[in-house]
């Protein structure tokens, strides 16, 4: 499939070149090749069952998103592997199991390339299921393309709030593996109230993901009567926080939240540690999602006693109604991907596959609208290793809550352990507040 597509693209560009040079013979050849691909019908419910359900997705092999995108892609591949090993996914429309076939391209973290490739997946590969690449930035180009082509977009981790506004009137998107970023802070706000935090400082990156969280914090904290004494954005490319930390220290807040991407969080935590300044509660986003890498960069002493969003593998839902539980996933995935440290993105990719599986198992036909109805019908009805699945009418994920975790020193002292401390029902340890 891949090779054919490449050949196809080459031929078409060749055709344009040939045309530009005034030759006409090559154009005809390319036209024939192309039209044969166009005529294939997509996702028809009637007629015989397809030999395979094609799932198309993109991943970033290089560039700024590669670090997060590659594990997520591994997770998706693992899901395909698992499903096919069990004889395929159950498809309600044909009342039988059908194997899954994965088509994927590398967008190199470039949104314009991603745009072309999403179109490629829809118009040339005619995939039954379209899954987006990691994060809001690389999902954004897929949103309009999916809507234009009336193709349902399974948005894996693009939590940007703008995708799910009711005013968009977009019935072609569902968010599979993370809640929309605007609801991430909810458990954390409750926790901060419970330990009696009165005064909070927030710095956040000027991007969709972080800004949405920051604004939710601001509103949520205000609603709880907690004072936000410092609220500032920094450009996303910022890796220098020392002076800011000094400025915040002067305000003596109980809590200091830094909402950034992974590179921001690493730089922030390192510089906070080097500054010699202490806060009772320090919160960053990524240590909970990619603990091993953040710890390697920051060092255990820099991470100790800071807080983050708790996510699997630290967060354990061991008896999900759908898919593998965390411990069996860990064993199976580690042997499949020959990895030793799994992180949240691996799980997010796998989880997206589970949601797709639910869509197939509950949709009346393979049409994109039926698939969406299939997903929505299951809102509140199943849980996976991330937690209970829940979705609103705009396709935004409202389940999979992210609890509060603290990075407590492990017994050896040279490492930290992500420990869930809130809500109590999920807690695997007790919070140490204020941090020593």
């Amino acid at each position: 499939m891949k090779i054919k597509t490449k050949l196809h693209v080459t031929l078409v560009t060749g055709a344009v070149l040939a045309a530009a040079c005034g030759s006409s013979s090559k154009t005809t050849t390319a036209t024939t090749v192309a039209s044969s691909a166009t005529s294939a019908a997509a996702g028809a419910a009637a007629g015989p069952a397809p030999a395979a359900i094609t799932v198309g997705t993109l991943y970033a092999g290089t560039g700024s998103f590669a670090v997060s995108s590659l594990p997520e892609y591994e997770g998706i591949k693992f899901w395909v592997h698992e499903v096919d090993a069990s004889g395929g996914a159950y498809v309600k429309a044909y009342n039988k199991k059908i194997p899954i076939k994965l088509v994927s391209y590398n967008d190199q973290s470039s949104t314009s390339t991603a745009g072309t490739l999403y179109t490629q997946l829809i118009t040339q590969n005619h995939v039954n299921i379209l899954m987006s690449d990691f994060g809001s930035v690389l999902t954004a180009p897929a949103v309009t393309i999916a809507k234009e082509n009336k193709q349902l977009l399974f948005d894996v981790s693009g939590t940007g709030t703008t995708f799910f506004q009711a005013s968009n009137n977009d019935p072609y998107i569902v968010l599979t593996s993370l809640p929309v970023s605007s609801i991430w802070p909810q458990p954390a706000v409750a926790f901060m109230k419970s330990v009696g935090i009165k005064n909070v400082a927030i710095i956040y990156g000027a991007n969709d993901f972080d800004q949405a969280q920051a604004n939710t914090y601001k509103q949520g904290l205000a609603a709880e009567g907690i004072n936000v004494s410092f609220f500032q954005s920094v450009p996303t490319a910022t890796t220098s926080y020392t002076t800011l930390i000094q400025e915040v220290a002067a305000k003596k807040p109980d809590a200091f939240l830094e909402l950034g991407y992974e590179a921001n969080d690493i730089a922030f935590l390192k510089q906070l540690h080097s500054s010699g300044t202490k806060f009772p509660y320090v919160f960053t986003v990524f240590p909970g999602q990619n603990h091993s890498q953040v710890e390697a960069a920051v060092g255990a002493s820099g991470l100790a006693y800071t807080y983050t969003y708790g996510a699997p593998p630290a967060l354990v839902h061991n008896s999900p109604s759908v898919g593998l539980g965390l411990s069996s996933f860990t064993t199976a995935f580690e042997s499949y991907a020959s990895k030793t440290h799994i992180n949240f993105e691996d799980i997010a990719g796998y989880n997206a596959g589970l949601v797709v599986q639910q869509a197939l198992a509950n949709a009346a036909s393979l049409s994109q609208t039926d698939l969406r109805a299939g997903v929505l019908s299951q809102s509140g009805k199943f849980s996976t290793l991330i937690g209970p699945f829940s979705m609103n009418a705009q396709g935004a994920q409202t389940g999979f809550p992210l609890p509060v975790a603290q990075l407590l020193p492990a017994s050896s002292g040279s490492a930290t352990k992500v420990t869930i401390v809130w809500p109590k029902s999920k807690a695997t340890g007790t919070a140490v507040y204020p941090a020593p």
Binding site: S233, V234, I266
Partner: protein
Amino acid sequence: MLLEFALIGGVLTGMYYGFLAVGLNLVFGVLRFVNLAHGSVVVLGSYLTWELSNTWHLNPLLAGLIAFPPSLVLGAVIFYAVTPRLSRSADPEMLSLILFFGIAQAIEAITTIVFTSNRRALPGSTLGASSVSILGQRYPFYWVLGAAIAVPVFGAIYIYLYRTRLGLATRAVMSSPDDAASVGIDVKRVSAICLGVGLFLAASAGSLSIFIRGGTDPAQGIAVTTFAFTVIVIGGLGNPISSIAGGVVLGCAYNLAQAYAPSWSGVIPYGLLLAVMLIRPSGLFGSQVRVA
């Protein structure tokens, strides 16, 4: 108090910024083009540092010394392979710029292939201490270390330029390659050495950059080059020693912005670059336009 912190911090980081940029200025002074691969070499130096520290458990700052021989060789190879053809072309200055952009892309690609695109960072504890107290406030140890290393580096460059024969030849080539050639200076040899030394300074600055910039990844190159270019434009193009002054101005401006208008701090280097170029192209500390 915050002002004081921002200014002292600005001076400390600024001296390091001068070190980060001085190689670019040396190359510009001698070869008359902007080495767009400068930032990519800085990044390469950072990766070397990471490998040394993580794989070989050596002091990360050793990378700054190890880089010397390969940098000189690389400088000579690039110089002798490229300049003869370029100098015969219609627009050598622009073509050099584009050419070194190509070299930067190639270095970035090789860095990605060898080290993957994963971001690498080293905990501050690798350097020993974590913070230092100056006038009652605590500053990150690597800020102080950066400044402390920048001083001897600039001292060495000063001695090289003003106290050695090769340095005299270098200054002659900087002021006029034709005149230098006419008094028997081997302009090509001096240029090749300076390109090598410039690359070495970039690579060795990279070993601290992984701490001061909070980590490194292959795609940072062009941003580092622009930043370094801002430093040398402020200081004065073609006058390596003035780079330290340019660094301090930029360091202070950036730190003040971080303290009082953090959301605009990212604009500082670019805004300052544009302002200096349009208002005082010779730089704040550069010599006046040379008399013909």
